[in-house]
């Protein structure tokens, strides 16, 4: 196995073994009404939005960027879809509308980063702060509840496996195919390693940066639909709260460096599942729920420490790229 995937994989296996020891029924799977049930399925179902957002985040981070606005974008997607449904609209149009709005938000982020050359962390901070305000504006500060069978399928539906994780895996497969079977993945990495050099080499750095931000926003949008569909409501304040942090952690645990360049989609999947398993583990092994965050902090620190000396040496801060 790839050395970079070793630690996240070991962390995930260790967590699963820990669960098996504490609760032997953890790996039990039952089929009822043609659906799979069990703790593992729960991990997959609850982890689906994180996996999806982390996928988008991976590509953004590979271009040496970061997208802090994904949580706010997820909230906006939920708000758009639910207000459309609550106004008597159709579920499919509502979801398409939500994703269109997200694509526009992604274009906005991409414009700030690629055209105006603003640092990604700040460019997306704007939308992270303002985006929740916009979501509140759409829902008029209320929690909009909906009741629609089609919409419910996205987050809570089952086709043997939960629909949510199937969507996430389909996106993962699609991205892997598009970026690894074509030159796109290498172009993304080259932009992350040195935007200026890759531009001079004829890579359309600007278009690529724009593409990854739109993709990240679309992923966030679908995740937002899952989150709000799962609870049949749009909560502008709490939907996707801190999910950007989980997603960034998933990417980092998966071995992709925040300094851009090489990325690993499989690593991100492992990272996201590790984080979700961690959350589930905390409940199953009886760590008091109050200590969840301490436990999470400890695992993050340990994984970072394990990766630090073994991964590629972290380069010193690169000098400002002139005229980027």
């Amino acid at each position: 196995m790839n050395r970079r995937l070793l630690w996240p994989a070991l962390a995930l296996v260790a967590l699963l073994v820990l669960n098996l020891v504490v609760t032997p029924s953890f790996f039990e799977l039952r089929i009822r009404d043609g659906h799979l049930f069990g703790s593992l399925v729960d991990v997959l179902r609850n982890g689906a939005p994180t996996v999806l957002i982390a996928l988008g985040m991976t590509l953004v981070i590979a271009t040496r960027g970061i997208d802090l606005s994904v949580g706010a974008v997820a909230a906006i997607a939920g708000a758009v879809a639910c207000t459309h449904l609550a106004g008597g609209g159709d579920a499919v149009t509502g979801m398409v509308l939500a994703l269109l709005v997200c694509a526009v938000l992604g274009l906005w982020n991409g414009f700030l980063v690629a055209v105006l050359g603003i640092q990604p962390i700040i460019a997306t901070l704007v939308l992270m702060i303002a985006g929740r305000g916009v979501a509140m504006l759409l829902t008029e500060g209320q929690i909009v509840t909906v009741d629609d069978d089609v919409f419910r399928q996205v987050g809570a539906g089952f086709v043997v496996l939960p629909v949510a994780i199937l969507i996430s895996l389909a996106v993962l497969g699609g991205v892997a195919l598009v970026t690894r079977r074509t030159a796109l993945g290498m172009l993304i990495e080259s932009v992350g390693v040195n935007p200026e050099a890759s531009r001079l080499a004829g890579v359309r750095a600007r278009t690529i940066i724009w593409t990854v931000y739109v993709f990240a926003a679309l992923c966030a949008g679908i995740a937002g639909l899952m989150i709000s569909s799962n609870v049949n409501a749009a909560d502008a304040n709490n939907a996707g709260l801190w999910i950007e942090m989980d997603a960034i952690l998933a990417v980092v645990i998966g071995g992709t460096l925040l300094t851009g360049g090489r990325y690993s989609l499989l690593g991100t999947l492992l990272g996201a599942l590790t984080i979700q398993t961690l959350t589930t583990t905390v409940y199953t092994i009886g760590v008091p729920p109050t200590a969840t965050l301490v436990f999470k902090a400890a695992v993050v620190i340990v994984v970072c420490l394990l990766q630090a000396p073994r991964g590629a040496p972290v380069p010193r801060r690169e000098p400002e790229v002139v005229g980027s």
Binding site: L125, L137, F295, A297, L305, P313
Partner: protein, 325 residues
């Protein structure tokens, strides 16, 4: 400002001046629109309501000047209020509680700084772990809100100081202003402060110059941790309670204030005074929205987002102009 001594204002002061102009404009707009807005007490209230944010923004300025970022400040504020409330409840004297809170903040900052410098963990990730840890420790102490009944804390919280013109301020304002003064002194008149700017400008050059970059990089996180803990104490004077969910998202306000105040996130450029004016701008926006009454509170977020954007655009403009010269 020293700009008076030279015929042309150096462009490095432009962001701070622009922030100040925006502050005057927003405040002026409020004064024209609402009766009783343009009073000394409203200005004093800006400081009273945002004293903790001023202290946080000062700490954040140090970190951002070196090109780092500290996401843990909001969580450390919450932890500070929890430790204060819990230890006071256990019967500790007020001075011991204050020492314990400040010590905890500094140690957390030290830990994150060492992680960043020695283990080369990205500041973003290291302080994110710090944020989880601090928030988690809050929940371990107590899930419920603990009220503070200690007479010393109550006295500091409620006592006011009369200024000429029937304006009153609290002790928190004095503490915050003292922190700003000390920070400005340290940044501009000490070896450590100059090194902070040098590391932010170019870490490798600073190392080659023989500056103690390691000490500076760890030091700024200790300062930020200390400021967060102090901000937490001011916050507990303000709220008179400790609660795990206090100050959620406060780190974003602090970062926004620093950026609006003209500090570049790439490090090396910026002033503490700018961050203070940044806090005042955010505070004025909030005050105007509460005066308006019909506007809902979420407009605050949208306005802050727009302000942030405007200032980044302005900074880009200035940086481009400097390159052209």
């Amino acid at each position: 400002m020293t700009a008076l001594a030279v015929p042309r204002v150096p462009s490095r002061f432009l962001p701070v001046i622009a922030t100040f102009v925006v502050f005057v404009l927003t405040f002026g707009a409020g004064s024209v629109r609402y009766e009783g807005f343009a009073s000394g007490q409203i200005v004093a209230n800006l400081f009273i309501d945002n004293a903790f944010l001023v202290v946080l923004a000062v700490g954040m300025t140090f970190v951002i000047l070196t090109g780092g970022i500290d996401l843990s400040v909001g969580a450390v504020v919450a932890l500070a209020t929890m430790i204060a409330a819990a230890t006071l409840r256990a019967g500790w004297p007020a001075w011991l509680t204050i020492l314990a809170v400040l010590g905890t903040g500094s140690v957390l900052g030290l830990g994150m700084g060492l992680m960043i410098h020695k283990l080369r963990v990205q500041p973003f990730i290291a302080t994110l772990a710090g944020m989880f840890l601090a928030r988690g420790l809050c929940f371990v102490i107590s899930e419920e809100s603990l009220s503070i009944k200690d007479p010393v804390f109550r006295a500091v919280a409620t006592e006011t100081i009369e200024l000429p013109g029937e304006v009153t301020i609290t002790y928190s304002v004095l503490i915050a202003l003292a922190v700003v003064g000390i920070a400005a002194y340290v940044l501009h008149l000490t070896r450590f402060g100059r090194s902070v700017y040098a590391v932010g400008g170019s870490e490798s050059s600073a190392t080659l110059m023989g500056l103690a970059t390691g000490r500076v990089k760890v030091g700024v996180y200790v300062i930020s941790g200390f400021c967060s803990a102090l901000g937490g104490l001011l916050f507990s004077f303000y709220m008179l309670s400790g609660y795990s969910l206090h100050a959620v998202g406060l780190e974003l306000d602090a970062i926004a204030a620093v950026v609006v105040g003209g500090t570049l996130l790439s490090g090396g450029v910026g002033y503490v005074v700018g961050s203070v004016v940044g806090v005042l701008v955010l505070g004025t926006v909030q005050t105007i929205i509460s005066f308006e009454g019909t506007l809902s509170s979420w407009w605050t977020k949208i306005v802050i987002g727009v302000l942030l954007l405007a200032f980044i655009a302005l900074q880009r403009l200035i940086v481009h102009r400097q390159r052209d010269l």
